[in-house]
Symmetry: D2
Subunit: 342 residues, 4 copies
């Protein structure tokens, strides 16, 4: 039985990525795609890669009709004030903004600096990272998408956190320019963004809140730098462990955590140019490559995770979560590997 | 009925790309993948994007067993001296080298500078560009892959050539670094290749021979430059027409030529950043974006075609040709759009 | 004797480049630098590379005081309506916009689509390309800067034009993103501009007018594509000669034209990765690398020129012209070679 | 009085960079440039940016004649076995390899894994980082060049180390491809190196030894990643301070350390795209941009330094040290700012 999926705010990068993936999903038919600014314009106006793949045009969000799944790709702060309307249209809503990621209204206020507009809904939303919340997703009616940097941090650290090994973490995160979205700004101007190494968030990034919610409280901070790439996140987490562990133990912990995960690959080889995770290898795919190594002098663990921010860090994980909630094969529509070289 | 496809010389870029695409082909099972230098090493050693997607290792080409389709990804000049062996193993052989692209042994000698090693086979091979040779492919037992630059030139010019409009063509071709293959050389060293604009073939490129064979004799030359990208070919053909034509006529000619082609999209808008073909839009996909414009002063036609050299310019078109020869849906395994942005 | 040079509109890329070069000019002292939008802000706000090199801030253009040389870096169309004021302030004015490039008001109207605002001044301005107008520059009071694409085309073709060899030219021009200036636009957004190959001017580019003015009327057109680089222009001119010439003759013609030129280097080697001009080799320098090759089949000449659009295509040539007009060593302040690798 | 400087092993990237800078040095004349593999070939064969700037060819190192300064750009391990010969040729030798960076033979053995070939010389060499060893450089006869990553770490941390503030440091270092030198290898192949984020040294990088020698023993480790750029190093040092400090104190410490340093700029603004150091801003220049910020939650100090690895991280600092040893203006030949945009 094919389900019909529509997208609110489909003209941005996550909307385009949802479309790219859903077009090849065996159980999904693409329904309506809205954009207030591009209403009545062909979809390939915003997503030139989809030219010829979709006959429809963008429609106004005011005209959207009922469907089986509704993806919300709106600016942060909008979904939470209009959520009633969307839930009245579809039995399953997946919101890709940051509005429903945190369960606690206090945490939201603390990290986002404003009160949450609909705190009563926070309890009903399920954080859509299957590696953390798979059981709850099966029953979800409202799923929150994930933060891309949060996803990389969470997947790098999850096996260590479960083992209670983490004393302290500093994560250095490198991201591409698509993380900033489709809107132009002075910092995204090609002549100055090209080959920039811009430390745009030296500390206190909001995505930390999601990691702490998923893994439990810990001494965690991160520094985020924009580098020359379009897609991709690499989290390099410098972990001070509570006790010294060896390489074999780490292999065991990561294997235990991930051996049943369809989209997490452990990359911790002894040698070779691809012995540790590199986002270029997963671009276009839903894979998260996770790896680790140990500084033999100090015992510091270097835990890494590489994802495509628009796929495993946004649209891909949203579809994976949808698959679970709809009772479909969890990997449906998501099996394409990344491009190499690219 | 699933067919079994094996690959000889699967450690290079076209081999990796065949694997990436065949893994999601609904009617194909990946059989053996050979590499003499990497025998017994896991396939992800050469293709890190496929880690976890394939359990097998490379095997020696000496041990390959019968299969339904055999793809040959060997250096130019090798397939033609060993073709008997491969045809004894599989009823359908697709050679991605340049060995069987030209029908005429004289042309081969003229463009490649050496006599063809097995001229008797030239008549039996079918040039595998469906837009040109679809009828013959249905019966083919030996299919030749296409040259990537040739494909871009042929698809840009085909509607004009069929209409007998071409007086003279100079094609300026821009290519990415993956066109040079997986072997390291002084010119591919990142510090000197990065942002290079290297005119590596100012004139007389061999791929012209394929274009002339497909479209008929004409006054054609091309200049090929390597620019900063990994995948992609843009052919910008400067066409002096035999008579002046208008934009509407060009639309008609291109539409007639391509309206039934599943992988050719006409991109000739009046405005917008994507109004003409750009290889970045087709990266990872089997699409060829073809467009045109006219210099109103001189009447010169600028005909463009953008492809991913590893997909529509190599592995994708090879699979498309295989689909036709096997009687499968021509688009099977090839429906993923490109990545945007990327 | 040190001369004082001021800059009107110094917050853009040509203004920044003038500053970078003038700071190391032995005979020039940097005077005032104006910017209406950044008045009173430190200059490194716009030009972070100059932090610590200049103590002054931007000032309002209304407050600029007399100086020896005034560079105008204003949007096209502004210098020509305010030129009286600037000439009253400085005995030598160098305008880097397009306003005074064409001598003929008719040509201006034809290529720019509007009447020239001060046609009487057109006769007094000298086009500031020393390789073409050196004698006139010595007496100039008003110098026009050059178009970057025009400079590349002119220098590639000048020896052939002087020899009366050109039957017809199509120039394929590849440019970097800095050519678009410092203002953000939808097309300059890094995620979509990165690795783009965008044919933004398929024909009829305005810079052709400058080439025709410098070299004489000819059958000339150009196609301009934006590629992945920040600085650089490569002109690849496909020249149909009036008669067939050999390589030796071309060497003679180019040597005759350029052997006394301090900033033109002939790059036409027989082999090697750098045998033909490549803009990456001249980035940051005032050199123009000029080369050529012949298609032996057709006799077509491929003439190339590579420049840094912000230096030889703008600020560097402006300073070179100023040096001549001031009677200084023509190369003063301009002797730094490009960066390699970079 | 002009001094004559020659270069042994001048065909690599540091050799090319020395030449680029020395050509515009007011007090230096370029003498001989040797290369065993390229002997008798023109220098622009290796350094295409210098075409036309130097008339000479590479010569064999066996034929080098006496000069005032000799720069050694040989593979690690070679200078230390041949140092007698070079010191007999020139009263001042500057070795850009790692051979004489560490004063202690034990440290050398510990970090490089082999005994030092000429331990008796270690005491006479002066580590050539003027910000640390300026007084000793004035008398030096043998100067050791610096490690590029070491330079970035040292300059980021020096004010904190002098203040005794450092409890523990983890430095995340991002580097460009030129750091690997001019020799081709599998990892430097453009299709796989482009946009790579490759953690090539997760811990225990040798350059740490230089930092500890310069700043004193501390709990220090670093992780080095190769990213998409050609030139540039950004060190992001995560510093756990012994006591909590505020922003104003950091400003004071950095200003005290660097206000007299001609090539260190403090970049620690409150806002703006360039508020913290970014290597793209210093490319081509001898500047080190140093900055800092504080994580208000944890008190962690994020200390950053950005350099061009080939200039401030190699050839530029070597010339700066030479200037001091020769009694010249310390900034001679090094005053060009970086390129922006580029």
């Amino acid at each position: 039985m094919t389900r019909r999926a529509s997208i609110i705010g489909g003209n941005g990068y996550t909307g385009g990525e949802l479309l790219r993936l859903l077009l090849n999903h065996p159980d999904i038919e693409v329904g309506e795609v809205t954009s207030r600014s591009l209403a009545d314009r062909p979809i390939h106006h915003a997503h030139p890669n989809l030219r010829g793949c979709l006959n429809q045009s963008f429609m106004s969000p005011d005209e959207v009709t009922p469907c089986d799944v509704l993806f919300l790709c709106m600016p942060h702060g909008e979904a939470s004030t209009t959520i009633d309307r969307w839930q009245s249209i579809a039995p399953l809503v997946v919101d890709l903004s940051a509005d429903f990621r945190l369960r606690s209204a206090d945490d939201y206020q603390s990290w986002y600096g404003v009160p949450h507009p609909s705190p009563d809904r926070l309890g009903t939303a399920v954080y859509g990272l299957p590696e953390v919340t798979r059981p709850q997703l099966a029953q979800a009616r409202l799923i929150s998408g994930v933060g891309c940097n949060a996803t990389a941090m969470t997947l790098a650290l999850l096996p260590l956190a479960r083992a209670g090994l983490i004393e302290r973490v500093i994560a250095d995160i490198k991201v591409g320019s698509s993380e900033g979205g489709a809107a132009v700004n002075a910092g995204s101007h090609h002549p100055v963004r090209s080959r920039a190494v811009r430390t745009y968030s030296p500390s206190g990034h909001r995505h930390c809140a999601e990691v702490l919610q998923s893994l439990g409280e810990m001494d965690l901070d991160c520094t985020v730098s924009a580098i020359e790439m379009v897609r991709g996140v690499l989290c390099t987490a410098h972990v001070q462990p509570k006790e010294r562990v060896d390489h074999k133990t780490l292999w065991r912990l990561y294997r235990e955590a991930y051996h049943n995960e369809p989209f997490v690959r452990i990359v911790a080889d002894r040698a070779g140019p691809n012995r540790l995770p590199d986002p270029r290898v997963v671009v276009g795919s839903n894979f998260a490559d996770v790896g680790f190594t140990i500084d033999e002098r100090s015992g510091r663990i270097i835990a890494l995770a590489a994802i495509d921010n628009l796929v495993k860090g946004a649209a891909g994980t949203a579809i994976q979560a949808m698959n679970i909630a709809l009772g479909l094969d969890e990997t449906a529509g998501l099996t394409s590997p990344g491009l190499h070289p690219a």
